[in-house]
Every structure is written in structure tokens, then in C-alpha cells.
Amino acid sequence: MAILKLYSSSVTACTRRTATVLHELKIPFELIEVDVLSGAHKTPEFLKFQPFGQVPYIDDDGFILYESRAICRYVAAKHPHSGLIPTDPKAIALFEQATSIELTNFEPSAGKAGLPFYLKKLGWRDDLEDVPANLEILDKKLDAYEVILSKQRYLAGDTLTLADLFHLPYAGFVSLGSDIMTRPNRPNVARWYNELVARPAWLAYQDGVKTTTEY
């Protein structure tokens, strides 16, 4: 069976998300670099696999899949013992609630605040104009997170799931320019955040995602 191929830039947010989960699951993968700065993801050859012209996509022994969260769900489903997706019916529902919280209540503002900090760090673009307004929105959302995380250790319950890991790229990027994730008035958010960014799977690709065949 062929090694899982991850087609992407080595540094983009959604690739970091995907690679973090692959690392958590100890899945060997080959990174095939797509040069997004020169528009390699918009060529007809690329669009045949990912018609929206976005990275990443995977080729798992011939099965093509895109959308980082869908990829993460697929690989976690193949490794049910990991617990990254629960199996008990109510736990699954709370997991789905948590993944939806991430994409509707976290990503919009954390992405718009975090990505500019990250792109500036990469030297790709220096434009922080949208950041303050989005930090303000994120600040209010994190107050709700504080309520949730004061009752349970992780976003879906007391065990780590994909829902927590999905936050990593943008939570990490926001912290490049703001202390919003670790303020003393939200001790539970800080506790949860600090645990996430200390995970080896996140730290492994700080300088970019690379082919990983051994763990």
C-alpha cells in the first residue's frame, strides 16, 4: 500500500492542521510541495484534484480528498482507537457541536487576526489592518469558551478530540501578535491553549511540514 501523499505548501495553515493530526495518529506521509506563491494550486493539473484551487489535498492510495477538516476526520476514522473522534452517541454529538463551534465561533475571527501575523512572520505580506476588529470579536467568543472550559477539560468533554486540534493553526498564529489566548481573566482558556501548543505534533512542524515516515 502506498504512503499517504499530502499535496500542499509546507507552511500554510490548513496544511499545519492536517499534518498535526497525521502526527498525532502516527501516520507516515509524504509532503509533495505545491508552490502556492507562484500559483501552482491554480493550474489545470492541480484543479483536476482540488477544483477549488486550495491546499491541501491528499492521495491515500488512490483516494483523493480535500478540505483539511474532512481529511483529519477521514484519517481519524481509520484509527478509531485514538479516540480523536468519540464513538459513544452522545459523545459524538458533543464532538460535532465542538467542531462546529470551532468553525463558526473561532475560525472566522481567529483566522482573520492570526493569518496576518503569520504571513508577516513568513515575510509574505505585511498588512495588519483587519487585526484589531477581529481580535475584538474573538475576545467575546473566548469568554464563551471560558464558560465551557471551566466545566470540562477539552471542548467536547474531558478527552482530547479533533475539535481541539482543529484550533491549533490559528490559535498559534494569533499568539504571534496577541496575548488573547492566555489572559489571566480566562484561566481555563489559557490552560487549554497552553496544553495544545505544547503537543509534540504541533511543535514538530514549527518550521514547516515535512515528509514524516518514522515516529
Binding site: P51, F52, Q54, F63, L65, Y66, E67, S68, R69, A70, R73, Y74, A77, K78, P89, K90, I92, A93, L94, E96, Q97, A98, T99, S100, I101, L103, T104, N105, E107, P108, K141, A144, V147, I148
Partner: protein, 218 residues
């Protein structure tokens, strides 16, 4: 105790897609209207159900959850033996549904949300739409629908040949545009999208929901 379903009384947006999912699953529920005009969703009582202060939410005999797409998944699992299967069980089939649901959330919905705010919400508050935002948003939506055109040329629905959650989630916000006279879903240049959209809008569950509104089944 029967499932309690909290939402705005209009069969639109997040509440609308949960109502549609409940109908697809032939599920019994008790509808509890939440008045957005008086900001009932921001009261302490409601926020005990959803700390983000948004509708919809459910209370299924003490099991509380929110986030419309998550509620649809829960309803699909709970009533697995009846109605339409919204998320298939096979690993690859399920992955393709998740792929399509992710496209809706991450690529289609953000500009759609902005356009709906401008052309629906602002006029309700006596404010004029910002045409620059509307124009930019519609272009982004149109570009995404161009990709859908290719996908829907290969199979009947977004994730394959069966109606799934991936199609259902599109019924929340796109109808707002159609109601405002934006014909983006039935543009002649995208016959596959038009075919798919017309199929969605003529699903008996959808037609009944729009005609009768949000109603308890009990």
C-alpha cells in the same frame, strides 16, 4: 420527554436546516420559538443552553446541544432507522460528505453570510446595503458555484448520487438570495447547479416546511 427545539420561528438559517433535518428523519419534537427581535437569545436563561447566545439549540430529555450542523448530525444518528440517511456509514462515502460540508462552511458560507447581512438584515433595520460588499460577495459565491457546476456534472448531489447533509446545509442561507430576486442559483451558464437547486427546492420536506413553518409535531 420529546426533543425540545429552540429557534427563531422562521424556517430559515440555522434553525431552518435543523427543522429540515428533523423532517427528513421524521422525528418528533416540541418547537420553542425564540424571539430574536427582543434578543431573547442573549438572555441568561437561553445562554444557559448556548453560551454563544445563538439559535438554534435543542434539549433532548436533558441532553443539550447547539450549532445547527452538529444538531443535524445528532438527529441523523439518533433516528438512524428512519427517514433519509444524512451521513453515510462507509468510511470513504462519509469522507466525501465531510469534504462537501466543509466546502459549504469554509468557502461558500463566509461571503454568503456577508451578502445576506447587507441585503436582508440591514434593510430590516432601516440601513442601506453596501453595494461594494454585495458585489464582491456575489462574485465569490458565483466562483464557488462554477466549481459546483463541475462537481454536479459528475453526480446528482454534492457528495455522490444521494441527497446528504452536504446538500441539506445549503438550504439555510441561499434561499435568502433567491427571495431577494438574485437568480444566482438558476443562472443559465450553470445548468447542473440549476438542476440540483431546483431538486432541493422541490423536496417535499422543504416545500412543507416553507408552507407550514416551524411547528411542533406533538
Amino acid at each position: 420527554m420529546v426533543l425540545k427545539f429552540y429557534a427563531s420561528p422562521f424556517p430559515v438559517a440555522g434553525g431552518g436546516i435543523v427543522a429540515l433535518a428533523l423532517a427528513e428523519k421524521q422525528a418528533a419534537f416540541d418547537f420553542v420559538p425564540i424571539d430574536l427581535k427582543t434578543k431573547e437569545q442573549k438572555t441568561a436563561e437561553y445562554m444557559a443552553l448556548n453560551p454563544f447566545g445563538k439559535v438554534p439549540a435543542i434539549n433532548d430529555d436533558g441532553f443539550v446541544m447547539y450549532e445547527s450542523r452538529a444538531i443535524c448530525r445528532y438527529v441523523d444518528e439518533k433516528f438512524a432507522g428512519q427517514g433519509t440517511t444524512l451521513v453515510p456509514k462507509g468510511t470513504k462515502e462519509r469522507a466525501l460528505v465531510e469534504q462537501a460540508v466543509s466546502v459549504e462552511s469554509m468557502t461558500l458560507f463566509p461571503p454568503l453570510d456577508k451578502v445576506v447581512w447587507e441585503v436582508v438584515v440591514k434593510p430590516e433595520r432601516g440601513l442601506a446595503p453596501d453595494q461594494a460588499i454585495v458585489g464582491k460577495g456575489l462574485k465569490e459565491i458565483s466562483d464557488t458555484l462554477d466549481v459546483y457546476e463541475g462537481i454536479l456534472g459528475k453526480h446528482r448531489y454534492l457528495a455522490g448520487d444521494d441527497f446528504t447533509l452536504a446538500d441539506l446545509v445549503h438550504c439555510g442561507y441561499l434561499p435568502f438570495l433567491v427571495e431577494k430576486g438574485v437568480d444566482i442559483m438558476t443562472a443559465k451558464e450553470r445548468p447542473n447547479v440549476a438542476r440540483w437547486w431546483n431538486e432541493l427546492m422541490s423536496r417535499p420536506t422543504w416545500v412543507k416546511l416553507q408552507a407550514e413553518g416551524m411547528k411542533s409535531t406533538v
